[in-house]
Amino acid sequence: MSDTNIKCTINGTELEVKKGMTIIQAMTENAQRIAHYCWHPGLSIAGVCRLCMVEIEGNPRVQIACNTVITEGMRINNTSEKVKDAVKWGLDFHLINHPLDCPICDQAGECGLQDQYMEYGKYTPEMAEKKQKKHKVVDLGPTVVLDSERCILCSRCVRFTDEVSKTNELGIFNRGDHAEIGTHDGKQLDNKYSLNTVDICPVGALTSKDFRFKQRVWYLKDSDTVCNGCSTGCNVKVYFNKEGLFRVKPNVNEKINGYWMCDEGRDIYKFVNREHRQLKGQKYGAGSWHEEVHAGVAAKDAGQFLQTAKADEIGLVLTGQHTNEEYEALLNTFVNTFKTKNIYHWWPQEPKAGEFDGLLLRGDKNPNTAGLKEALSKHGITAKWADLESGLKSGKIKQLVVIAPENIFAYNDMEQKAAFFAQAEHLILATSVKFPGLEKASLKIATIIPLKSYIEKDGTFVNFKGDVQKFKKATTVVNEALTGVELAQLLAGQNLQIEVVPTPELFKAASNTRKDQVTLDHRKKNEFVFNRGRL
């Protein structure tokens, strides 16, 4: 123990830290405040912003905390007047050529310059000379826009493309105070992780084309969840208000996604918003759509068909897009109440499933394939997709319940599948998105039941390597939509209970949680989170 740990004193507090740790690491891990821009725990040390100044006893000069390794007995402080003065001036140097266009800047409200100036600033600006002019609205690529005047040249984005995405598109060009970020000749900032540069940009220099000018950030609430874009299960934060979701950013989880997420995952908020959603229950029969009904009514009516049907006439189609709790509730209903084992796994991209880009992105675009497989085997389900094909063709399966996938970007075979499912005598389609291709399909009888999306419910996903991750409901987009658990109860003819979370011992405890994670039991509904995480 003592071989790998050493003692030091930071701002009067005695700490035991791992050997080889830098001062800034020790300080951030022990909740000590320190100004910084260029240092990022997921990137190499640049040591260029010169803000993380600390005073070390015995050293007459202030030192940067990011490149100073702690030695035994080191006494460090960053609260002395000397350090405060250095940081004040350091910030002023950052700001003398900054345009201070906060009112029209997308970063305002979550800007490192604003935040740190409030905390450490000099408050008496003395710059009276002309500011440096640089390029504005530089189109770096399909996702990101650059404003060079706002840039503080911390080089985080350059290091990201060099070290993490390893695509090397960005560089710093020119010298001195006319240095600018830019893309190398003939290149664009175009990689699967490009939007991380926007996250790590401490100022408004890099902005996301998707998000910019959509919302002021102080009108957004945020909530932690797990990305449902693929089987990696990155921990993410979704930003929303009553108009819907606006963006997704990564949360730090060293075990799963580190500090990053892919650009594809950032689109997952789109199919949650109302324009893509199935809002009401719908029925189809005798060649036309009937009036819209309440989701619960649609589910209960459909349930009556199922309760009266023969066991082997009932089929259920599931995808790896839903939570463990929903699988359990649905399988329990179908296997134990309806006594059927005609349960099929809709799996659209078999050949791509094993793909992995080496960083985060996986070919299996389902967040919970592992959870589904486990649930199926637990209930002894062995049915194959081919059985469904033959069952529908021969008319053996009459009542087909389909729990449709949420991610319409990942499932590109939905139109063909609509036609395929339409062969059933009665198609009961529970879907959170407007299911494409239904208009063209030759339906016999159909019931459409709106489902809640993953943002709108508590639940558990199991990622590709078996990490069990719980997430809480972030917000409600479609108020009357049902969760899978509620659907299962209604189909079985039960009434909804107020407490819909099934007995907890049925489910695994989360094997992967973050320190700052709010547990299901302690969540506060729609809490307004001021703390927007680390810079």
């Binding site: 000069r61 202030v62 250095a86 140097f93 003395e126 000379e129 002309k130 440096q132 010298r175 006319h178």
Partner: protein, 437 residues
């Protein structure tokens, strides 16, 4: 008493033939290489350490000490010769490379043998065409004569040497900036630690020495440390080349022992001033060194400790003499423009601070200065000191601090009257010429 140079390194520089291999050998060339290859490498390092030789590039760090920081193992290591002579006012390395390229090459092979390096580079400032040509030719001659390459003079020691041409950036004279440039990266200094002696060029142990330093090694081997120490003082041993420039009658390179009186340098070797002019100020060690007033310069001696005591430095040995016809605000504007132009832009205080200083000085110079600008210059410069990766920020701040404090009356006059105390006019800025580029 006539003041004379002490021609130790430059003994044969007046002979044109000294540039070629034959002429160099005729005048004692490569004898010390033969001698050194028979010595123990550690003995060479000890001898250099004992000679008290300090780096001639500017920092004045003990050369023997620097060499002994190398790890004691067989890891490949590099010797780099810093010939990116960019410090304004300095032109001694250029003369050495043009007049005696073999002297440097011999010094380098001996040094490389001492630190067991099999590869060295001479990083020459891009504008120095003649130096590059001279060195390239001399290296070819040395290869042919068997002083470079495999198994040098049958000693079993292999060494290869190359000339690398810089692209004219001042910052590449900083040793880690030079290493970055040599690696093909943008010429920007690297974070220390790790220091180059542990992790330098291509992440291998690397020693970077100035041209003059490496040339001296040959003479330390020839005459021994004890003889070398007879020049100069205890802490500033040996002779040094000084580049004398500015308003003196006879500017040029002069070799004198350290602790040589500056007065003799200016009035004796330099030939004093034009009729009717008198000394106003001296920048003693290249443009980064704080300026000395006339009174201070007349009692200064040219050695590390005396100049340090006076709050300035010996630096690269570039003595810039300023007479009373010059406006100090204008002189400072020249310097701030240089540092603004040459800041690499990596560290914020330097990137933004050099520009800020430059803009303030130029606004004073154009007659638009505000009374608070003088204090502001001091505040900005103060906060640029000791805050960055390399010393360029300090180099930009120190002249500002010394000019403004020592010649404050001229700055105050300029701000008050809107014109120069010496020249009687203001100087309109030439477009945006002083801002950037």
């Amino acid at each position: 008493m006539a003041v004379a140079e002490t021609k130790y390194l430059t003994e044969f520089y007046h002979l044109p033939e000294f540039k070629g291999l034959e002429g160099y050998k005729k005048n004692g060339g490569y004898k010390e290489l033969v001698k050194a290859l028979k010595m123990q490498p550690q003995a060479i390092i000890d001898e250099v350490k004992a000679s008290g030789l300090r780096g001639r590039g500017g920092a004045g760090f003990s050369t023997g000490m620097k060499w002994s920081f190398l790890p004691k193992n067989n890891e490949p290591r590099f010797l780099l010769c810093n010939a990116d002579e960019g410090e304004p006012g300095t032109f001694k390395d250029r003369m050495m490379m043009e007049k005696a390229p073999h002297q440097l090459i011999e010094g380098m092979i001996i040094s490389a043998f001492a630190i067991n390096s099999k590869k060295s580079y001479i990083y020459v400032r891009g504008e120095y065409d003649d130096s590059i040509n001279a060195l390239t030719q001399a290296i070819q001659e040395a290869y042919k004569a068997g002083y470079l390459g495999k198994n040098i003079l049958g000693s079993g020691f292999d060494h290869d040497m190359d000339v690398y041409r810089g692209a004219g950036a001042y910052i590449c004279g900083e040793e880690t900036g030079m290493i970055s440039s040599l690696e093909g990266l943008k010429g920007q200094p690297k974070l220390k630690p790790p220091f180059p002696a542990i992790q330098g060029y291509l992440k291998k142990p690397t020693i970077v020495n100035n041209v003059e330093t490496l040339a001296v090694v040959k003479y330390v081997i020839r005459d021994g440390a004890a003889h070398y120490k007879t020049f100069g003082t205890e802490k500033s041993a040996g002779t040094k080349l000084f580049s004398l420039s500015g308003n003196v009658v006879k500017p040029g390179n002069y070799e004198v022992p350290l602790a040589f009186p500056m007065k003799d340098m200016i009035y004796g070797l330099g030939g004093g001033f034009k009729a009717g002019r008198k000394l106003k100020a001296v920048i003693p060690g290249g443009s980064s060194a704080p300026v000395l007033t006339a009174e201070e310069s007349e009692r200064a001696t040219l050695d590390y400790e005396n100049l340090a005591q006076m709050g300035t430095m010996l630096g690269s040995g570039a003595i810039i003499v300023i007479d009373d016809s010059n406006c100090m605000v204008q002189c400072l504007a020249n310097l701030t423009h240089f540092y603004h132009h040459e800041s690499c832009g990596q560290c914020t205080p330097c990137r933004e601070g050099t520009g800020w200083l430059d803009k303030i000085v130029h606004s004073i110079l154009s007659g638009r200065g505000r009374p608070q600008d003088i204090e502001l210059l001091i505040k900005v410069a103060d906060n640029m000191k000791g805050k960055t990766i390399c010393a360029l920020s300090d180099a930009a701040a120190l002249p500002v601090l010394s000019f403004v404090t020592k010649f404050r009356d001229e700055f105050e006059y300029f701000v008050r009257e809107g014109k120069s105390k010496v020249k009687g006019t203001a100087f309109a800025p030439k477009g945006d010429a002083h801002v950037g580029h």
